[in-house]
Point group: C3
Chain length 457, copies 3
């Protein structure tokens, strides 16, 4: 019955550096919600995992939304009267309002300023701004640079195309022993922002690469999708797969030293919520567990009431609360291998719980079994501090109503210690698991029931 | 579906002054649980609302009680040997033990003192005392005045009658779209005490006057009844109306600057409990929400286990906790138009919730609808601070299991903001309400079930 | 309906001294899990209550355990080269590793030390150590005495036998009006340790002696059993009696001045849990209420998942947390009559709740009954501080869904005050109890349901 912990098999000592290197590799690419930046990035990920890419044509209806036109950009600049580039896309792709309409015009500074976004409170950084669903053109730049510009006429050029094409996303499925799925999702639409979200793309790719080598209970699906429209597109096209999702996690911004932060699913008490809370609270004293709120990343879509999926969100510093957020300061100096490795390990600790958790049964439930003669107990005096108490807790609560996570929480012990105690008791014949097939069936019925209730079906 | 807020239609800028003026008008009248003081007061209220008066004969059995004799008083005094009034009913009707038996006697000071109530700890105020159910005669006076009296013989006269007659109460019903009722109840038995309870009588009269002009979902019943025996009498005579009560509020002492205080119904989690708690906690940082206890005003009767009605109690300072309570210092200086207006507005805020609350349904529950093209969302960046988040909260939770108040509480936003978001979404076709008839039917069944359970039926 | 409080009948002013005297009487006896020490102790208890003794032969299988051999000891010592006893069983029976194998050997100090247990951190006390299930021989002594020993050869002798025989335990049943049982259990296996557990043995004996004279609702069973193996043996041989247990308490270490401590049953919300918590929180500001954990005394067996009995544990200082624990400092100076009496009274207060608690019904549930004319209420002003409020609380909540303990908790009043109010209301005809037979039947069904669920039946 007892499965071994995934985390021991998934981890390796250079994981932080490996994630960092992959993030650094994709950092320069100018991504948006559509276009070649996404395709280029997915090709880089494919060197690690054999993910599929999907192209969904412009104009496709996806629920209340329409797949937008494809955006591609070659160059962009603002030149002064002397013909010098005072703003240059080649220096930073943040200089262009992401998904900006093309433009080539000469116009006085006063008029140009209406198309320029700055952050007066952080005057030396370039802000990241987008305009996906209202067509406009624009530039972003450091406020101090804007202040230095002389009056006069400027030449503004955004050499981009905004045409029918397709929306691109990547998908990788690792098949486990069952069709029940764990969904990982992250957004691939941000240009050169290291934490948000080269870090998430790289971490999930490295995790997928390692999971692919293991035998798991769940099947693991990884989505690399443009924010909002990408998740909506996937949900609209995959109603069958959606029904198989038992747990999920949106991952982004996992390379800085803040947090860690877990935002619960709309349900608030699903296993992924409890597993992530357990992993974070045990693993990081500075962790924050947030209740669900309907703003943020693509958990907004997965947790919309018609789906109500058990999908939470994991990141380090909470988005929007740190000065580097959505600016040119979110660069490769802002993320560190050590933070990436820690984020990776917390996710693995939660996966352990999701993979292993079950409601075992004590085979000798009347009185305590004699642990001493089985070599599970000291012979003079009582139990030692950790291990023996874990054995006693598992035996006492293993009545098929308590899961291993329930036991860990009531015992106030790490899940891994309880799981190890369960493994030892199982090896001694004192503990059995529920029938696996039955277990799965019951799980599916329970989750389907909730989903149907939420969607009003 | 979405009803507009009542409070906007009910409020006007002079409401505090208007309530104060009415309270001041009735302040001099000497009321008791029966008699002409109640009738006089009801006539003053009838200038504002066409309330019915009821007369219930002495001796009528009402549950475990019997309607008592009618008490009327013309004059009362204590004269010293020189024939001077040292205690004079004409100066303050608090000087007479309320409902005192008549007396005319000459007696030495030592003997007289056995019939005199004072407050030695507040030696300059006249206490308010009653003796309804044990026949006795008595006077109340300032302790310092009593101390000044010389020994000697005094003439004590209470020129009152205590005879068969009737108990009088007032009742006004504003008919709403449904027969389901909201009950307002306040006591009319106290003599010249401004806060307790000229303030409550005046506030409810002004509220009734305004509600009568509006189209409401609920029917609103206002009771102006003598404390305890009046509420018991009404309950005993109105078993049909009792079954229609869905929410209710006992109101008294609403003119001082303390509190505000809301005492929950015996149920503790009925809509009026949640609505008042929401209104007070949002509207006044100094508010107190008290759990039910079986002592206080007429909520004792409405919340007796055989009725167990969802009726709470609203006042400012909690009764019995301030020095003016039940003394001559509870005069017109103690209540202020500003406090009366604030009390009125809090009640209106709770009425908004009771009238409007429902469990709406998102018509596009799969993923978020595209708010931008409906003009409900900013086009660059995310939602603004208040409004857009309210739209997202309503959309996310509108699955027919969450009411607007549930949503407001989970979102930690004022009900009015959530209600306005619901109105906008309804106008855009993104939200529908439950079928009104069904809704009401279900509500009635739920409440009847609880009432039957509590009464052991 | 209303039963009178037990505690008034059980208590007497010399109870602390009486318990102390009995504890002192048995203190010198060398007990172990088997042998004549247990038999001798039970004979001393039989002078107070006519308890039965049971002998269960060595080798009897009891669930996962086997009844061990019988241990009897005559003498033990370590002599130095001069033939002087440097360790002497006659001075303290703690000097022998309890249940030690016999030995008679000459051996150098270095080798002898491997058989000696001391407490270096408390160098002047003799520790108490056992070795029941791994055969070994050994001595215990003060660390400082060990340090004083010269090198050289010593003669070690433990003149004991470890042979087939039987395990002995005592049992006393006081029959109440019903077969439903309250189980008291305490361990009888410790040698000269005054608090742990001469105190518990003595307290329960004195309680049994007094209960036996009274008419009670429950039958009370008292077990005086060797720790772990004794409780397991009783459970294995008494499956019928086990099914009748409705409440229970393991009692030990009740003579010191710490705590008091109550450790909840595995269920956590059974009546004994609530009753003990109420008694301790009302009776001792320094009390601790602990959640269940699967280590401690014989509640481990009673609360194993196959039984899941509503049995908690009561003691003063929590075991293992005070320096006298399991040392020669746990002597007759460590326990005091005053503490023993207080412990006794807390148990009696909980028994009051268990015996009396019921879900009464207000016979006049519509509005308040008129308490004044029944002499239950003051006639001028409102209720006095304690009593009248208790009457109002009982009347308000007596709807057959709230028990007296529920009412006491909601009213935040002592159970005894609520019970007295119920008694007065019952005497006035305002309160009736549920049908007793029905009540009991429902209780049994509820508890059986829980037990079956926990045992997987």
């Amino acid at each position: 019955m007892m499965r071994s912990l995934l985390s021991g098999q998934l981890d390796d000592c250079g994981i932080g550096e490996e994630i960092f290197a992959l993030a650094a590799d994709m950092y320069p690419v100018c991504r948006s919600i559509t276009g070649n930046g996404v395709r280029d990035t997915l090709r880089r990920l494919q060197r690690h995992v054999p993910l599929d890419t999907h192209e969904v044509p412009t104009g496709t209806q996806v629920f209340d939304w329409t797949v937008p036109r494809e955006w591609n950009i070659r160059d962009a600049w603002i030149k002064n009267a002397a013909g010098e580039r005072v703003v240059d896309f080649r220096a930073s792709n943040l200089h262009v309002l992401n998904y900006s309409a093309p433009v080539h015009a000469r116009l006085p500074l006063a008029e140009l300023k209406q198309h320029i976004f700055t952050l007066p409170e952080q005057p030396d950084v370039i802000p990241y701004r987008t305009s996906y669903y209202a067509e406009r053109w624009g530039f972003c730049m450091a406020h101090n640079r804007l202040m230095e510009l002389d009056d006069g006429v400027y030449e503004a050029c955004i050499d981009a195309t905004l045409q029918d094409g397709s929306l691109t996303y990547g998908e990788f499925l690792h098949r486990g022993e069952t069709d029940d799925e764990f969904l990982f999702s992250t957004h691939i639409c941000h240009p050169s922002l290291a934490n948000d979200n080269c870090s998430g793309l790289a971490l999930l790719t490295c995790l997928a690469e390692r999971l692919a080598r293991l035998k798991t209970h769940y099947s693991y699906r990884f989505l690399f999708v443009p924010g909002t429209i990408g998740a909506i597109t996937w949900l609209a096209r995959n109603s069958e797969a959606v029904r198989r999702i038992r747990h999920g996690l949106v991952v982004s911004g996992v390379g800085d030293g803040g947090g860690p932060t877990y935002k619960k699913s709309r349900r608030g008490d699903s296993l992924i919520d409890r597993a992530m809370a357990h992993a974070l609270q045990r693993g990081a004293p500075s962790s924050s567990i947030l209740d669900f709120f309907p703003y943020g990343y693509d958990e907004r879509q997965y947790c919309s009431p018609g789906f109500n999926l058990p999908v939470g969100m994991f990141q380090r510093s909470r988005f929007g609360t740190f000065p580097q957020y959505h600016t040119s300061d979110d660069n490769l100096d802002f993320i560190k291998p050590a933070h990436l490795a820690e984020s990776y390990r917390m996710i693995c600790a939660a996966l352990d719980i999701v993979e292993i958790d079950c409601r075992p049964r004590n085979t000798m439930p009347q009185c305590e079994p004699q642990l001493g003669r089985r070599g599970l107990y000291g012979t003079v005096g009582g139990p030692g501090p950790g291990d023996s108490m874990a054995l006693l807790w598992v035996l006492n609560l293993a009545d098929e109503t308590n899961s291993l996570l329930d036991i860990a929480e009531r015992a106030d012990m790490p899940f891994a210690v309880i799981a190890e105690a369960a493994r030892r008791l199982h090896a001694s014949g004192l503990l059995i698991g529920p029938d696996a097939a039955d277990h799965r069936k019951r799980k599916i019925q329970a989750i389907d029931g909730l989903t149907r209730a939420a969607s009003g079906a």
